[in-house]
């Protein structure tokens, strides 16, 4: 198991390293020159060269990448002379846009990002699986039709629309909830929870459907398996047959999908929800950085997303090994 984990982590690290190099090469090879944007209208070639130099853009791209990697592990000083800024390890660079430390920016947004992703993921996983299981058990009955209908509704309603509707009813019309916003949980747990209810709901509506449908179909498959029949032949109660024997097997493909979804959510794929409710997450940061052609931030958010997805997948593999003894020794 430990060997397996080490191997998985090593390969995860390799993936992240490759992603970082490729992202670096792509973004820094882009035609839009940050120096031109930074120096405005009355720009002379000399000035551009100076900016290039201060940003380190005049160096060979691989040297730049090496600087970047070294900076991450050991910190570095960016620019020279009076403009020099020291960026402590782990250094992801300094924003072109506002000279802020990119690592600090990301780290600052991480709690909001995690709160949104984790809360929503737990709910859509649990509720989605429960609904799917109920639909499978009562196949063709009312519960099934309701679950499938709800799934269809969720899939076909865009988040920006459901966000508006939710906000209109719960906040504006009925005033049951305060306007959605992010309050750190350390400051005010109740406020944190209330502020996130609607963003969670919007995300859950959109994603839960996949879990319902997937659970329903895998559970139906598993219920046709011989070992479920064996469980019934033992005289186990219906509940035990479903919750223990069926669910345990049906959950494996769901864990896989969940890992990828969760990784992507942390990595900023909840961008629409963040924007619709004004939650300061990583997704928003990524979009702003693209609009500003703020290369260090683009680079950092991409890397962050890749890391989140890769780590989530390692986690999935570990969980998989716990669920399914057959893959433990592979």
């Amino acid at each position: 198991m430990t060997r397996y984990l080490i191997r998985r982590l090593l390969s995860a690290f390799t993936v992240i390293a490759v992603v970082s190099l490729v992202t670096f090469l792509i973004f820094f090879a882009l035609p839009s020159d940050p120096a031109v944007l930074a120096c405005g209208k009355a720009c002379t070639p000399d000035r551009i060269a100076a900016i290039h130099h201060s940003l380190g853009l005049d160096k060979n791209i691989f040297v730049q990448y090496a600087d970047y990697v070294t900076g991450f592990f050991a910190g570095r000083t960016i620019g020279d002379g009076a403009n020099a800024i020291h960026c402590a390890a782990p250094c992801l660079g300094i924003s072109f846009h506002d000279d802020s430390n990119v690592w600090d920016t990301i780290w600052g947004r991480f709690p909001a990002d995690l709160s949104l992703a984790l809360g929503a993921a737990v709910v859509f996983m649990v509720v989605g699986v429960a609904l799917g299981l109920a639909a499978a058990v009562r196949k063709g009955k009312l519960v099934d039709k309701f679950a499938v209908g709800l799934a269809l509704f969720g899939i076909s309603t865009p988040i920006y629309f459901s966000a508006l509707v939710l906000q209109f009813f719960f906040v504006d019309k009925w005033q049951w909830l305060p306007a959605p916003n992010y309050t750190p949980i350390t400051q005010d747990p109740a406020g944190w929870f209330q502020g996130l209810i609607l963003p969670w709901a919007a995300l859950v509506l959109g994603s839960m459907a996949y879990y319902t449908r997937l659970t329903r179909s895998t559970a139906l498959d598993v219920m046709g398996e011989d070992y479920v029949r064996t469980a019934r032949a033992k005289g186990l109660s219906r509940g035990k047959v479903i919750l223990k024997h069926t669910l345990r097997s049906a959950i494996t493909p769901i864990v896989t999908i969940f890992g990828m979804d969760f990784g992507a959510l942390i990595g900023g794929s909840a961008i629409i929800t963040e924007t619709a409710f004004g939650i300061p997450g990583i997704g928003q940061l990524a979009v702003q950085s693209v609009l500003n052609v703020d290369l260090p931030v683009i680079m950092a958010t991409s890397l962050f997303a890749a890391t989140a997805v890769v780590l989530a997948n390692v986690l999935v593999d570990v969980v998989y090994g716990i669920i399914d003894p057959r893959v433990r020794y592979a």
Partner: protein, 356 residues
Amino acid sequence: MAIELSPQSVDVNPASSFLEVRDLRVHFPTEDGLVKSVDGVSFSLEKGKTLGIVGESGSGKSVTSLSLLGLHKGSRARVSGEVWLDGEELVGMTEAQMRALRGQKVSMIFQDPLSALHPFFTVGSQIAEAYRVHHKASKKEAHERAVEMLKRVGIPQPERRAKDYPHQFSGGMRQRAMIAMSLVCDPELLIADEPTTALDVTVQAQILDLIRDLQEEFGSAVIIITHDLGVVAEISDDILVMYGGRRIEYGSVHDVLKAPEHPYTWGLLQSMPHLGGDVSQRLNPIPGSPPSLINLPSGCAFNPRCAFKDQVADGRCLSERPELLPVLDSDKHIAACHLTGDAKAEIRSASARGTK
């Protein structure tokens, strides 16, 4: 006090045998029509005895056994008839009553032990679970019981093997574990659905020996469902041959295999090669394929594949369903065929001339 001869007879008296099945029908409504998987099957079984149910795929043999415990697939199945087990009628039972019987009084062994055991739980825990369903026992007690059962069915190092998962067992060991699980509550009736089909021949011999030994030890009744006449001959007392969801021949193993009465049973026996048989002799297959359970041929369901239907007058094989009638000079051997005793005797002697 009646040996059931005709599927029509309806008897509301509790049975005298340990297990008595009367006119069991299991019908599944489907989009294509009503699938009559089991259509009027009756048999009886005493404790300590073994019944072999034989037939090809789609003959209804598995559904018959599964429906005894209400384990057949499809909640819309219509089950009728009577199943008397030790004085209790099973067909009308509620799910909860049935559940109390499953694994306790009646237990099952399935064909493929790899798919019949849950891949994610240890063998020991699956056996212990079967015990705890019906006994108030701590986890530790149940585990000890599981180890004891594994030992009883001949698994070496049972303490260690109980902690293994099914995929770590060999095929034969898995089937032993499955048997251990089915016997953990000392059932009075054991139903084995193709218990050795997925196994190698030497392992099959071990498993059949084991089932026989355990039956002697516990005195339970055993129903063994198989397509292999050799397995039935080895282990059974009685044999029930099914075709198209119905009984076509029923009697003691000796009677049925030594003096088969139905052309389908003849066909089954002649179509399989024997270890000491004459290799220059071609196999004598039954032509055609098993019938659809939605549209059984009219008259005798076997008539499209039967070589002797012309020897019955008036085309009765095509128009009239033969009743199960007792064979002369036999206490309980019955068969459903329109051929007269004389006609059969003639066919036999002709066939005997042919093979010699």
